[in-house]
Structures are given as C-alpha cells and as structure tokens.
Amino acid sequence: MNFPVWDVGFGLPLLIALVTIPHVMVAHFAIGGGLFLAIYGARARSTNDPAMLSFVRSHSRFFMLLTLVFGALTGVGIWFTIGLVSPAATSALIHTFVWFWATEWVMFFVEIAAAIVYYYGWDRLDATTHQRVIWLYFGAAWGSLAVINGIITFMLTSGTWVTDHNIWPAFFNVTYFPSLIFRTLLCLVMAGIFAILTAAFQNDDSLRSRINRIAILWTIPSIGLLVPTGYWYFSALPQSTKLIVSGGWTALKSAQHNLFTSAIGLSILVVLTMLTKNRNLNRVLSGFIILIGLNLFGSFEWYREAARKPYVISNYMYSNGMLVNDTTSIKEAGLFSSMLWKHSDQTMKGEDLFRAACQSCHSLSGYNGIAKMVAERGWTEEQLGQLVQRTGYFRGAMPPFVGTVEEANLIATYIATKANSLNATPESLTPKRIWDNNCGLCHTLDGSRPLRATLSGLSVADLQETILTVDQLSDAIPKFFGSDVDADKLASYLEAQISKREEGVSK
C-alpha cells in the first residue's frame, strides 16, 4: 500500500524464483564445496596423493568461477529483486536485522577474500597455509549461512517479536536450528553432486570412480538425514502454518511430492553414476543430477515460501505488503483511500486496486494468472466480486480483502475485462469443476475446513437444497454460482464422494 507495485507482466513471484533458486543452490554448494575442498585437499596432501590433489585443484577452479561470480552476484541479485518485489517487507527486515546483515557482510567479505587467496594461492602458499585459508573460507561461508538462516526463518516463524520486538528470540526462533541443520545437510549434498559434475570431466577413469564413490558418502547419508530433520523442521511450525501445509492445497502438495521425488531421484542417479564406468554416460548423468538438484531446491524453497502464506513476515505483514495491524484502519477508510499509488483518472480505479491488493502475487495471464484462471473457469464478474471479498477464507492462504464491496467489484470488473480479452474457452463444467469453483476454494472434505461430517447422511435432494441456499448459512459464504442443474450435479457428486468413503470405512 505504501510502495508502488512493479508490473512485470509475467508475475513477480516468478522473478523471485528465477533468481533465488539457482542462487540458493550455488550458495549451498559454496559452503559444502568449501568443506569438500578442505577435507580432500588435506587428505591428498597427507597421503601424498597427486591425482586427488590435482582433482581438488581443478575442482577449486570450477568452484571459484561458479560461487564467486554467479553465486555472489545472484546473492546481490536477491537484494535487488526483493527490494523491487516486496519493498515493504525488505524495509521491515532491514530495519530489524541490519546489524545481523552487516555481520553477515563481514563474513561474506572474508569468504570472498579467502576464496580468491585460496584459488590464487595454489602456487604461492605452502600446504599448511593453503589449508588454513580454505578452512577459514568454510568457517566464514557457514557463518554467513548461520546468520541469513535466522532472518529467513524469522519470516516463517516470527514468534513473539510482533508484540515485544525482542530481536534475539526473533533471530533464534523456533525453526532456526532445524532449518540450519537442514540447510547444512543440503550443503553436503551439493558438495557431493558438484564433485560428480567436475569428476565427469576428468580423463582418469580410476580417479573419476574414486570421486563418484566419495560423492556417495556426501550425498546419500545427508539425504537420509534430511528426512528426520525435515520432520523436526515441520514439527516446529505453528499450528496455523501446519494447517495450510496439510490443508490440501494442491500446489503445496505437488511441491512436497516434488521434494521427495527429487531426493529419491538424486539418490538413485548418484548410485548409478558410481556404477557406470563410461565417461560420456557419467557426464550425461551428472547433468541430470544437477538438474534434479535444482528441482530439489526449487521445491524446498517454494514449499517454505508457500508455508508462510498469507504472510511475507508471519503475523506482521501480509504478502501484499499490508501490515496486519493496519487492516482495521484500512477497512474503516477504504482500500482506495488508503492507497498511495493511484491515478486521478477514476476509470483506472479497478486497475489501481488490483495492483495494490493482488499484483504482488498474481499476474493477469502469466504466473498465478488470475485473468487466465477466471477465463478458464468461466467465472462471472459477479462471482469474482463475491470471491474477492472473501480471499481471506481461501485454502491457498491469501491475505484478507480489506476493501469495500464496491472496491471488490471494481477489481472483479478489471479482471473480468482482462479475462474476456484472452478469448479463452471455459473448461466444461464437470461436477468436480463445479465443486472447485464453489466450495473447493475454501473447503475440503477431510482436510482444512472439512465438510464430510457436516454433509454426511444428507440425501441428494437435501444436498441440492443446501447448495442453493448456502449463502444463508454465513456471511463468509457466497451464494452458489451455477444453475439448478449444476447444483444437482454437485449434490450427486458430493453424495457419491461421501458414501464412497463411508463404504470404504465400513468394509
């Protein structure tokens, strides 16, 4: 509300993901890879193993070029991107954690300097000093993670900070340690898979096999330990967040599924790489391993961000930059009056409202494209207006809409106009689609806001009547959008779903 919203067209969250996911992957490699270089450099030197030492040296060049340039610069890129995408949240975080970030900056500086001295030091420094430098590098890199981790987890679990503004419990919040260990394990996994990548380009077959065997030690146990650590991490989440996670939100479920399949896929490919002796096949497999690693990070980061919804800083600021504490005053004043960035041209009111309330997360027809969704689902402008008023009830955990009915309708008109211009053919109205378009936005049968118990035992006719008069039950529920035939289809669908499960239980 305080800042303008940048209209990138394809969706701001996608821009964040584009920068964050590759950065986070490389940044974790920057830590784990540092440890790898330190350990195997020391081992090669103590056992007088020139082949291994030569691998460590060539790996260090790749390591330096990837982490120091791409890793460091995309890290700065995250600064740039979050300031553009979520300026209010970035401002709040910087005002709260500036000294932590400044501390992290010192570590980052030492890390960069140590990486440069280590790489250029191969021919200038004696073995002991060279090893000291890489250990120093690793310490600074991990320290940097330990600091940033506090800020990232704070966004997810801010604890009592919202009321007491006490910085230390905010930093060492309930997910701090599980996340730190989880991420440290990911660092080890990254060290292993990037070692496989550089080993694939070694001509010495026996050396490559050795590295692949070593890489297994770094990846498989770490992936195994990710499971209990992930469970610990999940257990530390507040109940409200767990509800979102377990609430049957399809996108979140698929991220969870992706996370597990990536971890399993990665493990299988790492073992396969060890078993194969063919260099070309090794290279192909190592490429796939890196891609799956990227998918693993993408799923994890997406899952973590989604679990934070509807907030960008839990219990303090919604994902559209609105402060939780401001909702009452905005409700009283009206959304448009509370907005800073608006045109004097009244015909643009709907667009201005959409931009302020929705566009931080939604595009029109790109990522999270709301006009596209409206066109595909065939929602009417009236239905959309009703839904906009009730965003706070959605299972996808959206911020509440704090504007007036008129403002919700203006947003609906704007989106509907854009949806019409897409000329999309609405999907056919199957019973499942009727459920998704009406009840399924907020309810599930068994997960969040479950309906099974309430609807169990009702006949199709009772269900149909309930559906057609559903808006009389509560102000939070809009009227049913569909014909009597649609209501009948939905009633039969619900009756079948409920009895199917009951039959299953009784059997």
């Binding site: 305080n2 800042f3 303008p4 919203v5 940048w6 209209d7 990138v8 821009l15 120091l68 340039v69 791409f70 460091a72 610069l73 995309t74 700065v76 890129g77 600064w79 740039f80 300031g83 553009l84 300026p87 970035t90 401002s91 709040a92 910087i94 005002h95 709260t96 500036v98 000294w99 932590f100 400044a102 501390t103 900056w105 010192v106 570590m107 980052f108 500086f109 030492v110 960069i112 300097a113 140590a114 440069i116 001295v117 250029y120 030091g121 021919d123 200038r124 420094l125 004696d126 430098v133 120093l136 600074a140 503004h165 910085i167 402060l323 800073l340 960035w341 045109h343 004097s344 041209d345």
Partner: protein
C-alpha cells in the same frame, strides 16, 4: 492522463536500529570504499580496452603488457567493488529505503538487470584472463563489452540514486509506466552527475597506473616510465575536463542547492572548494612524479586526490540532504538502538579486519618455497 502528484511513501514504522550518526557514518565510509574500488574497476576496464586496441594484442608492446597486467586485477576488483557495494546498499536502505525502493521500482528492469550484467562483465574478465595469447574475435570484443556494461551500470546507479532524492518525479514515471522501463532522463542533473563520476573514475585509474609504474621502476625503467606517462595523461586530462563538468553539474542543480555551494552554506562551499582545489593541485604534483617516480610526488598526489574523493562523498551526501529538506530529514524516524546487535557486528568486524589483513599479508608474502 499524466499524473504528477507528489507521492512519497512513509518511512518504515519500525524504528532505526542505531543512532543516525552511526548509520550515516557507516554509509559514508563504506560508500567511499566502494567508490574507490569502482573507480579502479570502471577506469581500469576502459584502460584495458584502450590498451587492447593500441597493442593489437601484441604481448611485447608496452600497451600489451599493461593490458595483461591490469586485466589480472579486474576480476578481483569486480569482487571488491561488488562486496564493498553491498554495505552502503544496506545502510542506504535503512536510512532512505522508502525513497530508494520507490525510485528502483520506477526503473524496475534497468535496476534489476544490473546484476546479470555484472555477471557477464565479471565472466568476461575471467575469460580474458584465462585465455591470453593470440587475438580472436571474441577477445577483440570482450574488453569493449565489459567496459560498456560497467559504464551502463554506473549510469543506472547514478540515475537511480538521483531519482531517489526527487520524489516529485516518482508519480509521473510510475503511474504512467508501471512496467519499469523508464529512466529519469528529464532531469538536467542526470548526465552531468553521471559524467562527473565516470570521468573521475578514469582519473583515479590514472593514479593506479602510475603506481604500477612506480612499483615496476627498478625492474624495467622504460616500461615503468611508459606507465608513469600514460597514467599521468589518464589523470590530468580527465581531471581538467571534470572541473568543467563539475561546474555544469553544479549549475544544473536546483538554484537553492546550487547557492549552498556558492557561499550560502559555508561547510558545503568549503568542501567544494577544497575538493576542486586539491584535484587541481594534484595535476602539477603528479606531473613531477612522471620525472621522479620514486619521489614523494606520487604519494602526495594520491593523498590529495584521496581527500578530494572524501570531500566529494561528503558533499554528495549534503546535496542529498538539501534535496530532501522539504519532505524528509533523518530526525523524523524513531530510533531504538540495538546495542547488543551492534556489539556483535563490531566484534565480527574487528575479527574480520584482522582475518582480511592476515589473508592479504599471507598472499603477498607467498609462503611457498
């Protein structure tokens, strides 16, 4: 319909986590360090390009040798410039975030593209460094590409921080085009301000080249003298041009701000005069260094230019305050000092400095026998 309302976001409701003097001091100190590294990098990139053209990649010519010598520093200088840039970016967001975020959003894509472009320039330097010997098409164009990228980035940064102090321009840019493909080009200070910085970078790079000559002096006198002469030319001519550009920049400032530099504010006028005066004084001093490379002329000239840069950093900050006088002063936000966190930073900072010193010493000493 074009909107030109004055829209200024409010500053963050969370109090400043430290006294303003501390945040401002760290902002100016780290900005100074960033600017010095940036001067060497930007000036260095253009000098490397110049030497590449002049030498036609003949490694034995003086220009060819200087090309390789300076190129070797550029990746590390890029790392230093970026790393030293992160800290002032952090502190400027604490003190002026509500203005900087808004101006950044106004030029969204241009601002966002800064870091992918730096990545390209950075990899270009590494490519050139690791692929020496023999002229190829890619090696002919990469120095120019990298130098152009850095020049463009300097323009974007200058443009953004210039816009951040002029919120009266926000609404027109942002409401007219929220896609982030706008720049603050209508402002008369835009180009003089940027050019002042860029030309200064070339001049500072000239001093660096002279230092490279001084260090080389005992090994290869002829090559050293070439560097002293070339470095001096890089310093002297741009500095003279920059005095003129500086005047144009001053004249393009809003009248009330310009008058502050013309005597209305004694401190600002003094800083301006000292900065300009020392830069002019450095010209004959550095001229002397070309004939007496080992004399005190070069250190003295460097100190004079160093003081000029300090004065300009302070003056730049005062001009920003003057721009913001009517709508934002640093006594407006509340302050709630986090002494514990500040102590943590300073302890880490001292340890970090000690470690950096150890790293640099260790590397320079070279312990391998």
């Amino acid at each position: 319909m074009i909107d030109s309302l004055l829209i200024i976001p409010t500053f963050d409701p969370i109090p400043l986590p430290a006294p303003v003097w501390l945040l401002k001091g760290l902002l100016l100190l780290t900005l100074l360090l960033h600017l010095i590294a940036m001067n060497l990098l930007l000036g260095g990139a253009w000098t490397v390009f110049w030497c590449a053209i002049r030498s036609k990649y003949q490694p034995t010519s003086h220009n060819g040798r200087l090309f390789r010598e300076m190129l070797a520093y550029l990746p590390t200088l890029t790392a230093m410039t970026v790393t030293l840039g992160v800290a002032p970016l952090l502190f400027v967001q604490v003190l002026y975030g509500h203005l900087v975020y808004t101006s950044s959003i106004a030029m969204g894509w241009f601002w966002w593209l800064v870091f992918p472009l730096v990545i390209i320039a950075y990899y270009s330097f590494y490519y050139l460094k690791f692929h020496q010997g023999g002229e190829t098409a890619i090696k002919r164009w990469l120095p120019l590409l990298a130098a152009l990228i850095l020049l463009w980035i300097s323009f974007i940064l200058s443009n953004n921080f210039n816009l951040a102090q002029q919120p009266e321009r926000f609404s027109k840019i942002i409401l007219e085009d929220p896609s982030g493909w706008s720049l603050n080009l209508g402002d008369p200070t835009t180009f003089p301000r940027w050019l002042h910085m860029v030309i200064g970078a070339i001049a500072v790079c000239g001093i660096w080249v002279m230092w490279l000559g001084r260090i080389e002096h005992k090994k290869d006198v002829e090559y050293a003298m070439f560097k002293m002469e070339f470095g001096y030319k890089l310093f002297a001519l741009p500095t003279m041009i920059n005095i003129l550009v500086g005047f144009i920049f001053m004249m393009s400032l809003p009248r009330n701000i310009m008058m502050r530099l013309m005597g209305k504010s004694m401190l600002e006028t003094m800083l301006w005069l000292v900065g300009m005066g020392l830069a002019i004084w450095a010209i004959p001093v550095l001229k002397r260094a070309t004939t007496e490379p080992q004399s005190s002329a070069l250190p003295l000239g460097t100190i004079l230019v160093g003081i000029t840069i300090c004065a300009m950093v302070l003056l730049r900050d005062m001009v920003r305050s003057a721009y913001q006088e009517g709508f934002y002063t640093l006594d407006m936000p509340k302050v709630d000092t986090m002494w514990g966190a500040i102590a943590m930073f300073f302890v880490t900072f001292v340890i970090g400095l000690w470690l950096l010193r150890w790293l640099v010493q260790t590397y320079l000493k070279g312990s391998k026998t």
